[in-house]
């Protein structure tokens, strides 16, 4: 427990000192501000491009458009930034040998894995919360009358998928020696999830539904309860990834 807290403190310190935390927060803050703005301005930009003779009918922007931007940015750019920033979470410490010192001081390997995961989850939570908060404030300001359903639940699903992705990332970094290997394995698993999603029957249970069905939830074309099994599966898979990471790392030759 000593080791876990001390190492968690070190991890957070590292995120702030190496600007990783700042990069995450800035990227997600930019998304948060631009999501509703883009939704609001896009029709006007397109409108200004219109010349005589061409008539494009552009529907009035709604809060829904702002949230479409939010889920699109977070699930694409947001996840990519997060995965790339975290891909060296273990490999850099192992290749440089900074971890050896601490392990030979009696730091348990389980504590290393758990505190690294905790820190990544904290950073992810802070980033998504910031992004959500900014988008929410601006959306309410720009589109005050629009009504949205299942918003919090939808964001929660996205957050849960982030947790799953980070657990997969950590397992990949335990399995591979380099940060590229870690990226490759994580990418392969995400692609595999996407491929599985082409089978309609699997969609209900696939973790990736948590990051794909968000708009459906908002427009009520998808019922909240249809995602419960995917949530359960994601949580179980995250736990499994964590357990495997710990077990494999404990037996790894360093």
């Amino acid at each position: 427990m000593n080791g876990y807290l001390a190492f968690l403190k070190k991890e957070i310190f590292e995120y702030t000192k190496t600007y990783k935390l700042m990069i995450m927060l800035v990227v997600f803050a930019i998304f948060g501000i631009t999501n509703p703005l883009m939704a609001k301005l896009m029709p006007e930009i397109l409108g200004s491009l219109m010349t005589d003779g061409i008539v494009i009918t552009i529907p009035e922007a709604t809060a829904c458009d702002a949230w479409t931007q939010f889920f699109k940015n977070a699930t694409q750019m947001g996840f990519i930034v997060m995965v790339i920033l975290s891909s060296s979470v273990l490999s850099s410490e192992l290749s440089k040998g900074t971890l050896i010192n601490l392990l030979t001081k009696g730091l348990s390997r389980t504590a290393v894995i758990l505190s690294k995961y905790t820190c990544m989850v904290l950073v992810w939570t802070a980033s998504i919360a910031l992004c959500f908060g900014l988008t929410y404030i601006y959306t309410v300001y720009l589109f005050p009358s629009d009504k949205i359903s299942n918003l919090l639940f939808s964001v929660f699903c996205l957050w849960l998928f982030g947790l799953f992705l980070l657990a997969v990332l950590l397992l990949s970094s335990v399995l591979s020696k380099s940060s590229y290997g870690c990226l490759l394995i994580t990418g392969a698993i995400v692609v595999a999830c996407m491929l599985v999603n082409t089978i309609p029957a699997a969609h209900r249970y696939n973790p990736i539904s948590l990051a794909a069905d968000n708009m459906g939830l908002l427009t009520s074309t998808i019922e909240a309860h249809s995602l419960y099994s995917a949530m359960l599966i994601s949580s179980l898979l995250s736990l499994l990834c964590m357990a495997l990471s710990v077990l494999i790392f404990r037996k790894k030759q360093l």
């Binding site: 000593n2 010192n101 030979t104 001081k105 009696g106 348990s108």
Partner: protein, 305 residues
Amino acid sequence: MGVLEINRLYKRFGHHEVLNGLDMNVPEHSIFGFVGQNGAGKTTTMKIILGLLKPDSGSVTVCGEKVTYGETKTNHNIGFLPDVPEFYGYMNPVEYLKLCGEITGLTKKQIKRKSDELLELVGLKNEKKKIGGFSRGMKQRLGIAQALLNEPKLLICDEPTSALDPIGRKEILDILFAAKGKTTILFSTHILSDVERVCDHIAVLHGGKLVLSGTLSEIKERHRYNGFVLEFENEKTASFFENIGELKRPSISMSRSENTVTVLLSDRGMNGQFLIDLLSQKRIVPLKFAALEPTLENLFMEVVR
């Protein structure tokens, strides 16, 4: 009972047999020089002691506790200095020692006291710079400070001096020598003069096992030649001594360089007394009369051949 006991240790990487039934015993409060060529298996042995590598067979005990691979409790008794220690470049020495202290479970007060004391010892007390800007020697010294932080019963240093300049080397050796008495030091190296300077026990690793081990004086005693060095006032006397008829026999070999004569006696029945008698008989007073000491280098060459 030794602080560190290694029994019948085997380890191979692929087809390469690194350790081949290694037995070693490090007594308490010794500075134990662990000598071997590059690639002899010194680092492998140390990593096994630290539970970082899994031995194929054999056992290691530290302070009476058995080392288990992976998570091992025995590391609480060990301080480790890797050959090229790496730290988090964004921390300063005090922050790094604080992290180490928290991991070992020291209280805030203890951490403060110990870090002050150790940074003083290794000469980094007023260093506020980030570790990222440290030279190799400074990193090595910080490495010693972090290794001694938890007052280990066994301090393991993996080639602590091999990458340093002569001044850096002397400083590290002095620090290690100062730590003697508080802890037992296992110290791997291939620099024999370092061993002679600080170690009291020595073991030579070759072909996966120890080919030579014991205290330094014991080993030298065991390998003493029946040879003497005589230094004379001038070349004329030296040359006169060299050509004395009594010394012209097959069991005596001599060599002279300027006014120094080296005499090797291969006849067991003959000793220094014979030479002294001869000197007195011929009424020659040498400037120096010394028994030939075996150098560690010669011994090393002999056993690893």
